[in-house]
């Protein structure tokens, strides 16, 4: 897999309304810094996640998929997160048979008060996908896969960091 330093992954995140989406909101209100690579899609519960959505995302341009829900035992709908867990585990196995690196799908429990955890999850996931390189898709050259806006934003973020001396 090609791994150019320019590569800015595009990530899709399925966030549950009651916990992980609120955690993401909290990261925002707390002004936490994290890379802008993830597009969140809100569902009522991580249990809504049809495993096909993961496949569809990877097929449609995402380099990685994050599934985030309430901590086990805390699901707003009782046990939807357990269903999500089973489906993600199953999907990762399926991806492996398809020849797709299962590390492109990440499952993380994030509660409504865990803004920092959300930010940190994004930071780590972006680095992990960068290391894996862009997702190979039929007929698409590897290098041109990050959308222009994402590359632009990443460049600004890099500049800001350097100016502040954070390196």
């Amino acid at each position: 897999m090609a791994n150019n330093a320019d590569f800015e992954p595009t990530l899709i995140g399925f966030l549950c309304r009651w916990c992980s989406y609120q955690g993401a909101d909290l990261a925002g209100t707390s002004r936490l810094k994290y890379p802008p690579n993830l597009v969140p899609i809100r569902v009522n519960c991580s249990g809504r996640l049809d495993p096909v959505f993961i496949l569809h995302a990877l097929r449609s341009g995402a380099d990685g998929v994050l599934v985030a829900g309430c901590h086990p035992g805390d699901c707003h709908y009782h046990d939807g997160n357990y269903k999500a867990l089973r489906r993600v585990v199953m999907m990762k196995k399926a991806l492996e048979t398809f020849g797709i690196d299962p590390r492109r799908v990440k499952l993380q429990w994030i509660s409504a008060s865990e803004g920092e955890l959300f930010a940190q999850t994004i930071r780590s996931f972006v680095e992990e996908i960068k290391a894996l390189g862009p997702m190979e898709r039929e007929g698409k050259p590897a290098a041109a896969q990050a959308p222009a806006e994402v590359k632009e934003a990443a460049l600004h973020a890099e500049e800001a960091r350097v100016l502040k001396g954070e390196g």
């Binding site: 449609s60 046990d79 939807g80 269903k83």
Partner: protein
Amino acid sequence: MVRLIINGREVEALEDTTVLQAARRAGIDIPTLCYHEALSPYGACRLCIVETGVRGATKLAASCAMPVEEGLQVLTHSPRVLDARRRVMETLLRRHPGAVEKLAPLARSMGVEPPEPAPGEDPCILCGLCVRTCEEIAGVRAISFVGRGDERKVSTPFDRPSDTCIACGACAYVCPTGAIKIEQVEQVRHSELVLGPNKAINVPFLQAVPKTPVIDTRYCIHFRTGACSVCQRFCEPGAIDYSMEEKEEEIEVGTIVVATGFQTFNPSRLAEYGYGKLPNVITSLEFEKMSNAGGPTAGQILMTDGRKPQTIAILHCVGSRDENNLPYCSRVCCMYSLKTAHLAKEKTSAKIYELYIDMRAFGKGYEEFYKRVLSEDVIVIRGRGAEVTTYAQSPEEEGKLTVLCEDTLMGKRRRLPVDMVILSVGLQAQADAAQLARILGISRSADGFFMERHAKLGPVETNTDGIFLAGACQGPKDIPDAVAQGGAAAAGALSLIDAGEVLLEPFTAVIDEERCSGCGICEPMCPYRAITYDGEPRVAKINEAVCKGCGACAAACPGGVISARGFTDAQVLAEIEGALAPVAA
């Protein structure tokens, strides 16, 4: 009712009572030593002697054992009676010199000058109260009278340590002369804060709601041995029912206000302060209990040896603002520490040190109070208390608790020898907050308290409609703030109830029953049992009134026949494609 004539006056007495009881009920004071209203009479001490019968044919008898009779004539304070009682008391005191100290006031009130007290002697006056108590109240008969004449005493069989004694303490409690001592009475704990022994039936604290006594069945003798029942016998309205058991009730409600409060930080974790090991190191809450006029010391501030402390140190932020314990500030401790200093100063005039990090006096009148406490010569030192030690390094520190700290304004380390250390403990969520959050389906913030919907705009709601928060369960706060929040929560709950109807979200699931293949996979998916799987042919049906819209069934349906309204497959897939459109292009 039975009619007696006591001291020439007609007195009505209840049937099956004694002359003593009738006289006392009529307000006539007859001294006793071996009588107790909860025990059967014994007639040992003879102090309750009265004169009965008609003039010329009277006799002296113990009124505690004399049943009332219609027309009985009784003299309780005739010269003959008074003389007899005085002789009884004199004999008693001479026979039991060890009891003189305790009985002297009663003797003097009868006109008897007590002999010199002999504190080393046995104070037991053989009144038998302890024996009767052990038999009738405790129901175990661990002690009784043994020996005769001069050798008569109260003891266990063969003077051996008793296996049957249940250490209830009742014998020590009824003994009029303190002849029975109980060592290491187990402290009855109705809360964490009891500083002294308590009774098995009591009102937990003065502000309890409802303010009715409750029996702790772990310690109640009736529940341990089947005996006693004194409380039930003496309850006039007959309110005591030993067969009452805890009941579980199911109540259906439309709104819930969670006001479950907080717990204080337990400073036993902080070995450096010696809480639980060193005497006279107490928490602020224990100080509060001691300071309460209804508390174990009747409001006095005392050390464990009964003395008033002459120097006190109050340590702020115990457990709070601490990366290793509670990282947050508990908000109320600075102000309650100042109050503690103020109260302690008032009650003991002790020299008071207050060790603080910052002084957070943020509310109405708070800064003014702070100034006032400063003007009362409370010595405030800016520096967290580091250690409390009994290891003396100078003569002033001998026998004291020495508090080590750094006075950051002076730039010096200091050692403060004090008599008492009060730890201002922080506030934390209740121990069962996680469990309660799960039961109610609400979230907790990172600090463990219940999470409000929005830090600024939703301080009393939770993310779950209909469940509100009030008070310290949502975060440390003082009484005015808790009251305000309680009002807001109540208003929120009321506005829901008032509306008469509830607006529900439309995100329910719907099945195309015609296309349902009847596989039955969806039915166990629903946590609310909104899906029924039956009929002819068997297909799944969804009860939309019960459906909460989680979408788990829609995700599971292999035929794609269930639509989760608002989050249909088509909608989510369109979102995915839309989000990735710039990349896919």
